[in-house]
Amino acid sequence: MLETVLNRRGKRPTGATPPEANAGAPAPGKTLCIARGLAAAGLHSALALQASRAMLRLAFIGLAAMFVGRMISGNASWLLLGAALVSLILGSVVGLVADRAVANTELEVANGLLGSVRRALAAALPGDIQVMPLGTLIAGLQRYPQAVAGLAVGHRLASTMLGLGPLLAATVIVAVSWEAALALVVLTPVMIVFFALIGGAIRSGADAQEKAFGRLAAQFADRIRTLPTILGNHGLNRERRKLAVRLDTYASGTMGVLRIAFLNAGIIDFFSSLSIAMLAVFLGLGHLKLISVPGFADLQLWQSLFILMIAPEYFAPFRRYAEQYHAKAEGLAAATALDTLVLAAHPQSPAFEATIVTRDLAGAASLLPRTGLVAITGPSGSGKSTLLRHLAGIGSAPSFEADFDTHPGIAWCSTDIYVPEGPLDAAIAWQNGPCCRTRLLLAAGNVGLLDDVLLPGGLDALIQAGGENLSGGQRVRIGLARALISGRAIFADEPTAKLDPGNAAMVRRALADAACSRLVLVATHDRSLAMLAGTTIDLGADNRQAREKVA
């Protein structure tokens, strides 16, 4: 999905493309609905501000035209000049406030979207989170909310102003000559016919381009991503030549689409230039009394200047809207991406073993003793981890809070625990409140972390971001040291699987010691560990039968 955005960006480097090119948008997804809801409040005031800015701009241009007209005719009115200056200043101030309002509203929308994503993530089951493409999700969270906000606020305003702006300009011209205003209004449908024609051409051109070269769209990114593989297989020179050819092919295809797409901006330019040229000549002939079209003849100089200068303002909103095309394409892609990534309702996937396990061992949770070592055993794939997660209450999101009261809290211990960046002592003390160094030393020593040759430095050993320099076994032992200090019940998933025999024995001993004062629940295939357990839940043969029954 990110690729889509990047491609689109690559394809249309700057704005100024078609208003109609993406007309057939699909029904808005959840993201877009949320964004629109969030934007609603700010949109009204932003729209009011933009409309007043447009009016003040018209006032400035009109007053300046009047001043010039009067001045050339011989009587400069300083009042008009002053009024023009005032409307300029007011217009600038209102414009500034309007820009800030748009930016603020977009921020609110983006933050609101982030909030929804966060809530969705917080409520999601671990299974659903683990299948999310992590890199795409993270790259998306950095970019998508703003893109969607731009669509819901900036683009929305531009499309509203597309209706309002020309109307305002025409109304102002009516004050001087309704015939001139009518001429402009009559021109508009002609322009729109052109837009429709070109819009169709752009769409078909873009489709053809997608069909012919779609695969070459993100080749550069792909080759950068796969660089180590290319180097490992000695494919650099070949890939380099191929990349140059493909980039070239793709660029020429893109140029073909752009050539048509720019016609759209060209049409707006054409009509706006044409209106000035035609009006200037018509009004000029009227002044020379060579024609007598009502509304164009017998005007004062200030009146014809007024018409001439306001006319381009009639077309300005079209141009601004066309410039937003980019924001629209990006916003739509981002909204779709967020929908599929996070916000869409996932088909609930509580691992199907969980239901069986629950049915078969419904009482297991209540049978758990307050203290002692309990082992869950069974062949791999029999649902040991699933049962452990179930007993820990993972996935039963609704009862989160209630659960917390009955459970004094547990400490989890497995290879995928969270390890903060920094020294080892901080990683062990993480979320354990203030603890003295002696306790840390004791806990770390109990699991053999103080004299680990692969993690030298004792308690001061540095752990890199994401625990990159840690092995699975080291992570488990950090988790265990943390659990020992916490005093909570320990839930451990395969605590000895990734350890060498010496460390495994040390971990078994630590778990057995801890079990004297609290509940220690382990899911394990380590027989020596299971032997130490006071209670064993065996997920062997009977459970497999149960599974077959359900299947």
Binding site: I138, Q142, N233, L243, S273, D416
Partner: protein, 544 residues
């Protein structure tokens, strides 16, 4: 079967990265068209106003009958057409020039990236989607800098200079407020550019920090949910994202302020010209030229819209260039002749280094022989992958500790003679054929490689050798098997396999590995494995 292996192409030297030669001609044309468009716009408005004024004054007198309106009317039409056509031409030519530059730049950049040492170190950062997206943002900011910054600012600058000169000639008094405003704008632009620098850096930094936290939290989702800390752990990254957004808002507020200032320039210049013309005693027809100038200023104002975007694009480009420069510290690879076969490879007291340069364990001394594959065992974290990379010449190591057939070989030679299959090998978005990296192999050979790794049905379903595959299409296990097919097809004398059976089920992994080792039986094969995998006929080395 391998005796006929073609001679091995050695890597060619990759020079230091250099800015590709610019294609100047299209840019020059784009610049000319941009000037023509702006001049057309200015003259269209200015001459129209002058024309209306002139005819209005003439209309009051008998001169109306003799007034030659054909010339100005024709000029106005000409300007209107020039403006439209030149604007279109500017867009097309400018984008074509930018795209041509982009193709050249990206080809060069790709080669430069390939020679960056970090590609071969542990964990290729740009293999991560989020880092890759940041990188692409930077590349794009530089790609379009000319189109977004140089072209508009050059056009605008020249137009303003010309108008200032004209103002100096016609209404010298008006130059004072105009220059004051221009100075204010320049100061504003400098301020915005410097703040944008800091803001953009802080935004990127904040987002990356938040992303690291979020990534770590998501990877630990099960333990965190078990400990009821999941909701809490999401707080920090999302606050980080929100802070970055706030920073972006600050930048946008500054942009809005600068835009307000920039948008005032043209209208104020217009009013100044008019007022000073009147004050200096010009009346009637003499006012027509100042009116033309005044409206020319107003027309320039149209192009000033979005001035802040130019400034921010400039700041982005600067930052992107410096970020990209960090990648480009090439290590030159020289041409090396590679023997087709090596019978033994000896490590002589090779000090073992982790990717971060830290020493691991004791130096190793071992001899690998062709026909006797060797498995490296040891707990995870003991440096198996690092040792393979040292042998492959991907990590620096004291030269002279690796001997092939008794002769010491340097980094370049080791890189050229080895095929290194990393355990996290990727799938290129390309055809199956290209993904196998064996341009000289026949179709039959490719198919037998695919059938050895039990992928033939999968590939046939995906469209055969010329079917297009991507990373998402293949599962982890399938990608790993494709990777083994690459090793099967490799013609290098030394083949290094990092965790070859990862993501494969035990039986299948054993079958494929046996077949692969049979195929490579005349080569030196070294594989690493964290479990106690020891295929028939292999030697084992245990790393501490």
């Amino acid at each position: 079967m391998n005796g006929t292996a073609s001679s091995i192409a050695a890597q060619t030297r990759i020079g230091p990265p250099q800015e590709p030669v610019r294609n100047r001609a299209p840019w020059r044309l784009a610049l000319v068209l941009a000037f023509a468009a702006l001049a057309g716009g200015i003259l269209l408005t200015g001459v129209s106003v002058w024309f209306l004024g002139a005819v209005a004054l003439a209309g009051l007198t008998p001169a109306a009958l003799t007034f030659n309106f054909h010339v100005p009317a024709a000029l106005i039409r000409l300007f209107a057409l020039t403006r439209t056509a030149a604007k279109y031409g500017e867009r097309v030519v400018g984008h074509r020039a930018a795209l041509t530059d982009q193709v050249r730049r990206r080809s060069t950049l790709f080669a430069a990236m390939a020679s960056a040492p970090s590609v071969r170190k542990a964990g290729w950062q740009l293999g991560n989607q989020d880092r890759l997206a940041d990188y692409l943002d930077d590349v794009e900011d530089v790609d379009y800098a000319r189109l977004r910054v140089s072209l508009p600012s050059a056009t605008l600058g020249v137009a303003i200079l010309l108008l200032v000169a004209a103002t100096l000639l016609i209404t010298p008094l008006a130059v004072v407020p105009i220059l004051l405003l221009i100075t204010a704008n320049i100061v504003g632009a400098c301020f915005l550019a410097s703040r944008a620098d800091a803001d953009l850096a802080a935004m990127r930094e904040g987002r990356q920090q938040a992303s690291r936290l979020l990534g770590a939290a998501i990877q630990a989702v099960v333990p965190l949910q078990g400990e009821r800390r999941w909701g809490l752990m999401l707080e920090a990254p999302f606050d980080g994202y929100a802070n970055a957004q706030t920073r972006a808002l600050v930048l946008r507020h500054r942009q809005a302020l600068f835009d307000t200032l920039a948008n005032c320039l043209a209208p104020c210049a217009m009013l100044s010209v008019l007022a000073s013309a009147w004050l200096s005693g010009l009346r009637g027809e003499a006012l027509l030229v100042p009116a033309l100038l005044a409206f020319a200023w107003l027309a320039v104002g149209e192009s000033v819209l979005g001035a802040s975007k130019i400034v921010v694009a400039f700041a982005r480009e600067k930052k992107a260039r410096s970020t990209l420069a960090k990648w480009n510290t090439p290590d030159g690879v020289s041409r090396k002749h590679v023997p087709e076969r090596i019978s033994s490879l000896t490590l002589d007291r090779l000090p073992r280094h982790a990717p971060d340069g830290r020493l691991i364990g004791r130096p190793v001394s071992v001899t690998f022989r062709a026909g006797r594959p060797t498995v490296l065992h040891g707990p995870s974290g003991c440096g198996k992958t690092s040792l393979l990379k040292q042998i492959a010449g991907w990590l620096d190591v004291g030269d002279g500790c690796v001997l092939s057939d008794g002769i010491g070989c340097g980094v370049d030679a080791r890189r050229a003679m080895s095929c290194f299959c990393p355990h996290d090998a990727t799938v290129l978005a390309d055809t199956v054929r290209e993904n196998l990296f064996a341009p000289h192999a026949s179709d039959d050979e490719l198919w037998s490689a695919l059938s050895t790794v039990e992928l033939q049905d999968r590939i046939r379903a995906a469209g055969g050798l010329d079917g297009w595959i991507t990373q998402d299409v293949l599962s982890l296990g399938e990608a790993q098997r494709l990777n083994l097919a690459r090793a099967w097809l490799s013609n290098r004398p030394v083949v290094l396999l990092d965790e070859p059976t990862e993501h494969l089920d035990t039986e299948q992994g054993k079958r494929i590995l046996d077949a692969l080792l049979h195929r490579l039986r005349q080569r030196i094969v070294i594989l690493s494995s964290h479990d106690e995998l020891t295929p028939r006929g292999t030697a084992a080395v245990r790393l501490q």
